[in-house]
Amino acid sequence: MEQGIIKKADAGELIAVLGGKYIVYGPVKDDEGVSLSKVGDGEDITFEYSNFNLSPKGLFFPQSEVIYTYDDSVEAKESLPEERFIVFGIRPCDASALLRLDEVYKKSSPEDPYYIRRRENAVIISMACKKPCQTCFCTSVGEGPAAKAGADVIAFDLDDSLFLEACTKKGEQLLDIWSKLLQEPDSAVLESKQRQAASANGKVYALNSEGITQKLQKKFESPIWKEISQRCLSCGACTFICPTCHCFGINDEPCGSKNRRVRCWDACMFKEFGGEASGHNPRGMIDQRLRQRIMHKFLYTAENFGDVFCVGCGRCINRCPVNIDIREIITEGTQ
């Protein structure tokens, strides 16, 4: 089935008919607001949210992952994640960000088997945006509030109904499972969806990022890095909440009577990220680290993978404690 519509009040039935074969992650209200959490029977799903605090990358590339444990003998038991899951309600920017992570962990060598398995096990249902935030700028980096990149199914919130449109074969298969619960949309529904997409598109903050990759090639020695990094705290919050940032570190540590090797998120903004065994640190100053992060995001990845690694979700702008605004950096970078 390629598209269908269902009343929001009946959304719980979509979960029920899955028969527990999939774990569903969706927008759930909690003390902090709305977060992407395991959904129960669907009663707890909310549609009143702009975006989640944390990006969904943690579902595929977890903050901490035990690779293996060992004591006197090293027995690296590889157990690939089996659980199938549906990720519902992520925004098109975040869905597109997953394609960036695919470039790094799926299409590059060596492949990450854990990441690949999780991607295979998941069905992505993105939720198109009705009302972009002040901090969104997806349209300026090749994304959009109703874009389909990265989604298996894209959903549209049409007030009392939910319109679902398959974008991939996997999405069609999921809609087939739901086919008895979904109605065929009529032309009014399709028009309403188009209007919503166009309206949202028009509301997103637009800036000119034309040629950022080429222009940055000449800006390694530019004084702008020292200027922008003056107020940077090198805290790493931007990196951890970014949906495309993907660096990790590997650490061995004791636990109980055994030891374990853990992979966890790392950030080039951390001082010790570039620290070498000799003690030398080629990026010991904050301006060097900020330059590295921006260059990696807009130049090096574009050269390596053909795409900038920013989807315009605006989380970093929202959460930076000192209001470093990546849009200002892009504008400077394109001068």
């Binding site: 002040q134 705290l233 570190g249 959460r319 404690p321």
Partner: protein, 335 residues
């Protein structure tokens, strides 16, 4: 009457005088941010740039975190013939205590800092504004001299609020005591009374042990180990944080709950006798962890057990470098 414009004008004038009189090389203050509800740190080194400086209830950052970068005492400085950088800094009451704390711990030299003390009547917590406006974003922010906020939403609605209802938690329990040793006093009266000192901590202490444990666990579970709290804190200036040492390793990386708890217990304990409750850590945290409930416990214990308030005088010895006859009451196990 508390006029933001008047105070800002005086700050600008002080900055111009300091720079043109060559008394400082740099003034650190606040400027307008890129979003309606943000003011952000600003680094002014010319008389013209002094015009960027602002003052309002969005000036939340504790600017003393930047001082060690400029006025660090040797011998950390390289053996070059470098003239010490002299810095003027705009500081609220809690920020002045941070500066004094840094002087006391020999991280900065007092003679190279010019403290511009601003009369603070509390800063606002933008999360409280966002909750009140139920997801409607603010396009324009104005504050009048009766401390009434005039907010215009993105939808064009104008709303007024008294600043009182949005005051940051730190300001609702402000310590109020300030050091005498400042260089420039901007005219105006700081807030004189805030009731409820330590009330939240007392309420928490009165809860059952299991309740307290569950709450601590719930809050700390949110942590993604981004280290923003540590980077934003002016007291966390260690070149090698305990959380990053590997030989031997104090605490593992990653979000294993035991490791995360160890990190927070360690960081909070290291604040004993030093924390000025500026809440920079709380604001920096991207996950909204209630750090204040735990940092304030240390402040209260030190005040009640040792009669010590952090940052009032650079000559006063830190409480953990001293001992008193009354110490250890009820602490020692006897038969």
């Amino acid at each position: 009457m508390y006029s933001m414009e008047k105070i800002a004008a005086e700050i600008k004038e002080s900055a111009r005088d300091l720079i043109s009189g060559k008394r400082v090389d740099l003034v650190i203050g606040y400027e307008k941010g890129s979003l309606a509800l943000r003011s952000r740190p600003c680094f002014v080194s010319s008389v013209e740039d002094a015009g960027k400086l602002v003052w309002n209830s969005l000036c939340t950052n504790n600017l003393s975190v930047y001082l060690p970068r400029y006025v660090q005492k040797g011998p950390q400085k390289r053996k070059e013939d470098v003239k010490p950088v002299r810095v003027g800094i705009v500081a609220k009451g809690c920020d002045v205590r941070s500066i004094v704390g840094l002087v006391k711990e020999k991280q900065i030299s007092r003679e190279n800092v010019v403290i511009i003390r601003v009369p603070c009547r509390g800063v606002i917590d933008r999360a409280k504004v966002e909750t009140q406006l139920k997801g409607n974003e603010v396009n324009e922010y104005k504050e009048d001299s009766s401390e009434i906020l005039h907010l215009t939403t993105v939808a064009g609605e104008e709303k007024t609020f008294s600043k009182e209802q949005f005051l940051a938690d730190a300001c609702l329990e402000c310590e109020l005591a300030e050091p005498e040793d400042v260089d420039i006093r901007i005219s105006g009266t700081a807030k004189q009374t805030f009731p409820n000192r330590y009330e939240r901590v007392r309420e928490f202490e009165a809860k059952s042990r299991e309740e307290r444990w569950q709450h601590f666990k719930k809050e700390i579970s949110k942590c993604i180990r981004c280290n923003a709290c540590r980077q934003a804190c002016p007291n966390c200036f260690c070149k090698s944080c305990f959380a990053e040492q590997g030989k031997p390793r104090w605490v593992g990386a990653g979000t294993d709950l035991s490791n995360t708890m160890f990190y927070h217990i360690g960081r909070i304990f290291h604040q004993a006798g030093r924390c000025v409750e500026c809440d920079a850590c709380v604001r920096a945290c991207p996950m909204g962890i209630d750090l204040r409930l735990f940092t304030q416990k240390m402040v209260k214990d030190v005040a009640e057990a040792f009669g010590y308030i952090a940052g009032l005088s650079a000559e006063e010895k830190p409480p953990l470098c001293e001992f008193g006859d009354a110490d250890g009451q009820g602490l020692i196990t006897t038969l």
